[in-house]
Symmetry: C2
């Protein structure tokens, strides 16, 4: 079975929004750091990956959220590089509370990209071996993301702080644009239960992106559909399922 | 002598920008957390302060930066509530590296605000006593912040994630608007040496603020002057001294 790596983290006030729960960018920051630390421990850190002219790129997240981590809470983040095929690596993350309850489960898809020609590379066995993931033939189908039928839009400029020390726009930053359009009233009434997101193209510093969204009422709660676009082209799309928040403020 | 409180922190990739050094919002987040922890330890946390109908507000920072903390570095943050007079509390912060070198020194001014009428309150002895700060008569004069003579401007909308779990726009977020206007080339050529900033009025969610700035060449490096304004009114002003960055990328 693939190796697991676990790390504790105390949730700080500056990682949380007015709901006193972790923001998506903060949560993904902590989560991805766990996988970077596992890679470092196994001698497969970014220097090693870069030595092949390659870099990791995340293409999909699928998140199941039982409850978002809260300010001051001690959480445990666990990661495991589950499986891989010729092009795709499937890595899971789990966030648990102090009593061991699962708060969040994230399934992700990673690919290796040639950082000169920005094209996808096949999975390099030397990079992947120490994680002891299962090699599979099948390409795992990702759950379908519903398109926007008739939406609204707000523009956002990619800021200097949206590009991280890895030199490109951190995937987690897309959530700044996706979440912000929903507005204060929505975001303090509803809490997310499920997120599907796909990253299609890379946004760059200085770009002015459009964050399109649409709200659909479902039997249980609300679904929001999201598309990050620029000049008519799709850069990222997401669906988020929400339920009425019952949390005590 | 006033009590000190110290905390270790490992600098994460998501706290850093393309220069591989900590962003201002991240640095201030970590720094302020230290003072919150000290307050909690002394039984003077936000619940206690709120029980008087009061909340802490920061009005000024003065920072001396020998070197910004780097990705992966283990830093030590120390805080001490130095002195106070009838209305103002003067708190210092220091960031040290693993060898004990001082990287950053921050002097700050805190006031207690009545959160109903949003007016400044005199310092409450019951709140301040356990910090063992020196009581002084004098109001410490803050270094003068130079005004913009002829500047440029970019607009920014206050986003949902700019308001933190303390329910208002975190002071650290002003740096998003102040820094971003300077642009990629400037921010990867120069590194900050000194920052003076004063927070005059509170920005709220949904506001569209103007980030004005001006660049002035000095004998040694560059000075940038900043003003955050809305409808002709000043909300925040800052001066930052920069030198050419010599860091190895």
């Amino acid at each position: 079975m693939a190796k697991k790596y676990t790390k504790k983290h105390e949730v700080s006030y500056y990682e949380c929004d007015v709901n006193q729960t972790m923001t998506f960018p903060s949560m993904l920051g902590v989560v991805i750091k766990t996988s970077e630390e596992q890679s470092d421990v196994l001698g497969r850190g970014s220097d090693f990956v870069n030595s092949f002219g390659l870099t990791w790129v995340i293409t999909n997240y699928s998140m199941e959220i039982a409850r978002l981590p809260r300010v001051g809470e001690q959480i445990t983040v666990t990661t495991q590089a589950m499986e891989y095929n010729k092009f795709f690596c499937y890595r899971n993350f789990w966030i648990h509370d102090e009593e061991g309850h699962e708060l969040v489960k994230i399934e992700s898809v990673f690919v290796l990209m040639d950082f000169v020609n920005r094209k996808m590379s096949s999975v390099n066995e030397e990079i992947i071996a120490p994680f002891e993931s299962n090699k599979i033939k099948k390409i795992k189908r990702q759950e379908k993301i519903e398109k926007i039928e008739s939406g609204l839009m707000l523009p956002y400029r990619v800021r200097f702080y949206d590009i991280d020390s890895n030199q490109h726009v951190n995937n987690a930053m897309y959530f700044n644009w996706i979440i912000d359009v929903l507005g204060y009233d929505f975001l303090t009434t509803y809490t997310p239960e499920k997120v599907l997101i796909r990253f299609d193209k890379e946004v760059e510093y200085g770009n002015e992106i459009e964050s399109h969204y649409e709200q659909v009422t479902r039997d249980e709660g609300v679904l929001t559909r999201h598309e990050i676009k620029m000049q008519g082209q799709l850069y990222c799309e997401a669906n988020i399922s929400w339920k009425v928040s019952k949390q005590v403020k």
